[in-house]
């Protein structure tokens, strides 16, 4: 394992120290692993998210004006513990309640549930929104349900804009839910990632093969396939998305790098995705190309698509000022 780390066990704490040093707009409790906006807005609905580390800039990099109020990063690929979530929620509570944005993984769900109970006991009203956009997983009685992946960014951005505009708790939660319901994702890996505490690659992938339908935890995908061109791989991903939620109207599209993928390649994929969408008679109305919801050093990409409404587009366009996403101010 070759990584820019000190003790691999300190990876998360050391990265948080760097985050704190780099962004005066954030307040970072390195010991307790909670990242807050430096200034909170009283009266506003709070937005809190969190999850395992290794997905940077998600979530801590999305704390700031127009997006999250606080985030709690767990160990690498391990959901945060209830204490962290409670601390983030209490701080994020400006009197109008807090929305928890939870990616649908057993660990995340259980820890956020425990935290929400504790928050309720402390008198903080919490509304939880599950993100489960990954079409690679069958949503059935026989799985833990679909995973939360790239669309988490959509949910955090759009709900954040609505909360910033002063909407009440129920409305922010409902809109977050709406965004999730209108979003789908699919991921492809060219290589495994290496979890620092494990010290070696999670899986081995021959030079001529890819993993299709990966999540964001370095887990193998639903199946393996031969390596293809950008057009073929983008086509596989888009077929999966389109097969689950027909591409129609104005779309918000994220072509996301998994952490080790150069931007040049992501733009090549985006060109293919955009052509695919045009071919279906739909339109890329807003887009984002870059590494936003990552899986450590994994090479590969995911595509996330959200079917916009005028209102969602307006909220997407609203100003945001975070380390990972910034426009309008």
């Amino acid at each position: 394992m070759k990584k820019l780390l000190n003790d691999p066990g300190d990876a998360v704490a050391d990265a948080l120290a760097g985050l704190a040093a780099a962004h005066p707009g954030l307040r970072v409790d390195v010991a307790e692993r909670v990242v807050y906006r430096a200034t909170m807005t009283p009266g506003k609905v709070g937005l809190v998210s969190g999850g395992g580390s290794g997905h940077e800039p998600l979530h801590a990099g999305f704390v700031g004006y127009g997006m999250l109020d606080a985030a709690c990063p767990g160990e690498v690929f391990t959901s945060p513990v209830p204490d962290q979530i409670v601390q983030a929620t209490t701080a994020g509570h400006g009197g109008a309640g807090v929305v928890h944005i939870v990616k649908n993984y057993t660990g995340d769900v259980l820890n956020f549930e425990l935290a929400a109970e504790l928050c309720a006991e402390e008198g903080v009203e919490v509304a939880s929104v599950l993100v489960d956009d990954d079409v690679a997983v069958q949503d059935s009685l026989y799985t833990a349900g679909r995973r939360g992946t790239g669309a988490t960014l959509f949910v955090e951005k759009i709900a954040g804009a609505l909360a910033e505009a002063g909407a009440p708790l129920a409305e922010v939660a409902a809109t977050a839910q709406l965004v999730n319901g209108r979003s789908r994702s699919f991921g492809v890996a060219l290589s495994s990632c290496t979890v620092p505490s494990a010290g070696k690659a999670t899986f081995a992938l021959p030079a001529d093969q890819v993993e299709l339908g990966i999540g964001i935890h370095g887990e193998p995908g639903r199946s393996r396939a031969g390596m293809g061109t950008a057009r073929e791989l983008a086509g596989l991903a888009m077929d999966a998305v389109h097969g689950d939620l027909p591409l129609e109207g104005d779309l918000l599209v994220l072509v996301n790098g998994m952490g080790g993928t150069p931007l040049l390649e992501l733009y090549v994929i985006f060109a293919e995705v955009e052509a695919y969408i045009r071919g279906k008679g739909a339109r890329v109305s807003r887009s984002l190309v870059g590494s936003y919801v990552t899986s450590l050093d994994m090479q590969g990409f995911s595509v996330s698509v959200c079917r916009l409404t005028d209102e969602l587009e307006r909220l997407w366009d609203a100003p945001v000022e975070t380390p990972g996403l910034r426009w309008g101010r």
Partner: protein, 225 residues
């Protein structure tokens, strides 16, 4: 069994989890996210570290660390404090699940200073039921339940049959180990492994493997008690 027995058990858990850290992580790498060994090592180490300053002040309302041998805390409190610590330190799926298991066991043990084999069987059953309730998994879903459920059943049966403690716990551990091994061919229906569909077949579940270690640790301690 007194509080020292359970303190010894927690220490044994920490030792075996650390010894099997890499294997648990490798099992998790195959069908999960390669952190199970690190997660449990972190949790059980935290219990050991919290145990060092011995007894917590009586009026401390926060979850009490597991005390060292000789503490006035009853066994139930030792176990449930350890469970709270797992919840506070582990994260992931296994943190709340094992944490809840220990907390429920501890609650079942109550305030009694001594635990009989029958009490232990009842407590283990309570712990397993709590995990089933929280995780909604049943035997065959390829989770820790595949080890925990047969362990609880075997212990209850052995105790009912009047088998002496060490032998009863050996049977429970053997049942857990068999249950863990039996997860290998299964297709997962809960947890991360379920994302893999049929590709989850052919790999032992990491949580079932760790559950078998924890039950075996009970037997190990009983054998030298």
């Amino acid at each position: 069994m007194d509080a020292a027995f359970f303190t010894a058990w927690l220490a044994e858990c920490a030792a075996v989890v650390a010894a099997h850290r890499d294997r648990l992580t490798e099992l998790d790498a195959a069908i999960g996210d390669a952190d199970h060994g690190a997660n449990l090592t972190r949790g059980f180490t935290a219990i050991q570290e919290a145990a060092v300053p011995a007894r917590a002040p009586a009026d401390d309302p926060t979850p009490t660390p597991a005390p060292t041998s000789g503490s006035p805390l009853p066994p139930g409190k030792v176990v449930s404090a350890a469970g709270s610590l797992l919840i506070r330190k582990v994260g992931g799926a296994s943190g709340p699940l094992y944490g809840t298991a220990l907390r429920s066991m501890g609650q079942a043990l109550g305030d009694a200073p001594q635990v009989s084999p029958a009490d232990l069987a009842t407590a283990l059953e309570a712990g397993v039921v709590a995990v089933e309730r929280l995780g909604k998994a049943a035997v065959g879903d390829k989770t820790m339940i595949d080890a925990l459920r047969p362990a609880a059943a075997a212990l209850a049966l052995a105790v009912q049959d009047g088998v002496k403690l060490e032998e009863a716990l050996d049977r429970a551990a053997a049942a857990a180990e068999a249950g863990a091994r039996a997860t290998a061919p299964l297709r997962a229906r809960k947890g991360r492994a379920s994302y893999l569909g049929e590709r989850s077949e052919g790999h032992e579940d990491p949580g079932a493997a760790s559950a078998a270690l924890l039950v075996r640790a009970l037997h190990t301690v009983a054998a030298r008690w």
